[in-house]
């Protein structure tokens, strides 16, 4: 059965190769090739899953050694795959959601002439992501890590004719590089500390290592996770990444790739357990990001950017849980899986809405769409209920557990982290209700009407110049798009309950990640009740603001916080002032030093040699008698010197 593992990666890799090399001949069938190979990978995953279930709980780790990659004395890098419960969970999520999104893209990208290439990139992403989660050592994981970065870059910039998309792709790539630096430094540190970077030996020898070393490695891994998972302070790329086609946002920037950081932390759990300082840093990053993303999500009028803020925030929850140690690992992964379902569903719903609205993304130009797009409305609505944690749906189970675990941290830290998580739950309810109300309820703001705010007539002609004066005709999307949405909605409704009842997910994952029961200072029921109160408060506030009153078609100026949140809480401004300006000043100083100091020494030497020789040149005046004088003088000096030496 071990031999099937490589097949998981081989199928999408083959798809990518065929689609990208095959050329235009495959234009007609390329998308189906891509979808079939993704589905084939999913089927292989199911077979392996059934195989794992058939084994004993402690016997569920399969390894497949493919070949020796870099065999050097003292440095052994193998291409070895490791399939255990953690990887299996990811494999099913990646290939399952991936296949659905391939199917959806068949409809979504129907009119794009570069559809074949799009599917090639999607398959490339699947292969790289599977390599990431199946690798048995950190170096191979790094290959997958870079692979998904590349696929993400290619797909964000897929519509490269738009300058904004090209810039966004570049930004995502560059910000990710910062995190990648962290991962590569962590791997180097591992090698110098442990002499190897395979999971087994590294995580097995954690006990014999100094805590300082482990903290350093942990912090570098955290930096890597921040880059890939869009956590503060490397979060700025995710919002812009929404320039990519919506299926990409759903698959890569919501369900799978951005959760790689959580995978990395949970996979290195043993290391983090031994480095409490690094673990604390992880929880802080998670708590800050979950509030940061939620606040940004509240202010965005672009439906995809609102959802991107939400993704950031939900991954913040996972990172927070992963930082809590064995109390939280299982719940981090559980939230990751349920989030994969409902966030992918929400993004696909958003894509379906955009599809119907002539690619309009501004929610202020939506409204009242539930009549026209019933399937999208229901699936999006179920995803919405799941993400805010409506009792019984999947978000309720997974998020509630994380909040409990945060309180169980104990002491002041526990109260702060738990409070942040609770507050995050309230804000989540607020912004998701806002998205829901602005999109599907209220008046139909997309109909052409006289300028709604005559005080500001300058806004409307701009819209007309873009050719958007044509009134959209909202319609339900084709079946090939709605079926994946329905499947994901079913997952978001029942996933949480399925995983939680009887602690199925816990028993499944416990042998890999370990688990330890948390004991919150207040009872679990109190936490649940508090979460529900937060939910009702957040949703109610959103209803008061966007449901009861009509939504203005032009965004009001808003408070200082709103304006800051619209600008992503000034993250880009911060980066610009501190990093870009700082970098410019640094380079200017270096250039100046180079010119004055380094060039000064070099040019000065040359100039002085030149000046000296210019003076020496005068001696050669062409008069034979003056040469004779120098000769006699020299000879006289020599004789004098000789006599002097004799005398001494």
């Amino acid at each position: 059965m071990e031999n099937l593992i490589a097949l998981l990666i081989a199928a999408p890799l083959l798809g990518a190769a065929v689609l990208l090399v095959g050329g235009r001949r495959l234009d007609a069938v390329g998308h189906w090739i891509g979808t079939l190979l993704a589905a084939a990978s999913f089927v292989v995953g199911l077979v392996l899953f059934a195989g794992l279930l058939g084994r004993g709980t402690e016997d569920r780790t399969l390894t497949q050694h493919l070949f020796s990659w870099i065999p050097v004395a003292g440095f052994q890098a193998d291409v070895t795959f490791r399939l255990d419960q953690l990887s299996m969970t990811f494999v099913l999520l990646i290939t399952g959601v991936g296949s659905l999104i391939h199917l959806y893209s068949v409809g979504y990208m129907e009119h794009d002439e570069r559809r074949r290439r799009f599917f090639g990139y999607l398959n490339l992403f699947l292969a790289a992501m599977l390599l990431l989660v199946l690798a048995d050592n950190y170096l191979l994981l790094y290959v997958g890590w870079e692979g998904v970065g590349l696929a993400s870059y290619l797909l964000i910039g897929f519509w490269q004719h738009k300058p904004s998309a090209a810039t966004a792709a570049k930004k995502a790539f560059l910000v990710n590089r910062v995190g990648d630096m962290g991962l590569s430094i962590a791997i180097m540190l591992m090698f110098t500390t442990f002499g190897t970077f395979a999971f087994g030996p590294v995580l097995g020898h954690v006990g014999d290592t100094s805590e300082g070393r482990l903290t350093a490695i942990g912090l570098m891994l955290l930096l890597a996770a921040c880059g890939k998972s869009a956590q503060v302070p490397l979060q700025s790329w995710l919002g812009d990444a929404m320039e990519g086609p919506t299926p990409v946002s759903a698959l890569i920037h919501a369900a799978t790739m951005v959760t790689a950081g959580v995978y990395l932390i949970v996979r290195s759990g043993a290391l983090f357990n031994a480095a409490p300082d690094a673990q604390l840093a992880v929880t802080v990053v998670g708590a800050v990001t979950l509030l940061f993303g939620a606040i940004v999500g509240c202010a965005k009028d672009d439906i995809k950017k609102a959802l991107a803020g939400s993704t950031m925030s939900q991954i913040g929850y996972m990172v927070l849980a992963a930082g809590l140690g064995p109390v939280g690992y299982v719940f981090a992964i559980m939230h990751l899986v349920t989030h994969g379902f409902f966030k992918a569903g929400l993004f696909l719903g958003a894509g379906s809405v955009m599809h119907a609205m002539n690619d309009e993304v501004d929610m202020r130009k939506y409204g009242g769409l539930r009549k026209y797009m019933p399937v999208t409305f229901v699936t999006f609505g179920l995803g919405y209920l799941a993400i805010i944690g409506f009792p019984g749906l999947s978000g309720f189970f997974s998020k509630d557990k994380i909040i409990e675990a945060a309180f169980a941290k104990g002491g002041t830290e526990g109260w702060i982290l738990g409070g942040a998580a609770l507050l995050g739950a309230a804000i989540t309810a607020f912004y998701m209700t806002r998205v829901m109300l602005m999109t599907f309820f209220g008046e139909e703001r997309w109909r052409n009407r006289p300028t709604p705010s005559p005080a500001e007539p300058s806004v409307e002609p701009a819209a007309e110049e873009r050719g958007e004066h044509a009134e959209p005709h909202p319609h339900e999307s084709p079946k090939v798009m709605t079926i994946p949405m329905i499947v994901l909605a079913v997952g978001s409704v029942f996933g949480g309950a399925f995983f939680s009842l009887g602690d199925r997910f816990l028993h499944w994952l416990e042998p890999v990640t370990g688990h330890q029961e948390g004991h919150p200072p207040v009872s679990a029921w109190t936490v649940t009740a508090a979460t529900l109160v937060c939910l009702v408060l957040g949703a109610g506030l959103a209803w008061a603001q966007y449901g009861r009153r009509p939504v203005p078609a032009v965004a009001p100026r808003g408070s200082l916080l709103t304006r800051a949140a619209r600008r992503d809480l000034l993250q880009d401004d911060f980066n610009h002032v501190v990093l870009v300006r700082g970098g410019e000043h640094l380079t200017r100083t270096l250039v100046y030093l180079d010119h004055s100091l380094v060039d000064g020494v070099v040019n000065g030497t040359a100039a002085s040699v030149g000046g000296l020789s210019g003076r020496l040149r005068r001696l050669q005046n062409g008069f034979a008698r003056s040469y004779a004088v120098s000769m006699f003088g020299g000879a006289a000096v020599l004789v004098a010197a000789t006599l002097l030496m004799r005398a001494v």
């Binding site: 050669q620 062409g622 034979a624 006699f632």
Partner: protein
């Protein structure tokens, strides 16, 4: 006669030759002064040979004469062709070899 006197004579001749090379402009005179210096050296060699009682100095004197003969041939040829082209035998006029 004391051989040291020959050395005094050689030094005197050499000084006269060197002064001539430095102060005279006429190439022929300069040339003759050079010959004078060479022969002063020869005289010193022979005197030393006599003083030390071996023949090394005399052999070197023969070498010097051979080289001097060859030098005279080349040197006179240069002076003649110089005079033909420039109608002057002054060494200061031939000062083109400079930067």
């Amino acid at each position: 006669m004391n051989p040291v006197n020959y050395l005094y004579l050689a030094a005197l001749l050499f000084t006269i030759g060197a002064t001539g090379v430095l102060v005279r402009r006429n190439a022929i005179v300069v040339f003759m002064c050079i010959e004078l210096m060479l022969n002063a050296c020869n005289l010193a060699f022979v005197a030393f040979s006599r003083m030390h009682g071996n023949l090394d100095g005399q052999i070197i004197a023969f070498f010097t004469m051979v080289v001097a003969a060859a030098e005279v041939v080349v040197g006179l040829a240069i002076i003649v062709s110089l005079f033909r082209t420039r109608h002057s035998a002054s060494v200061d006029d031939a000062s083109l070899m400079k930067l």
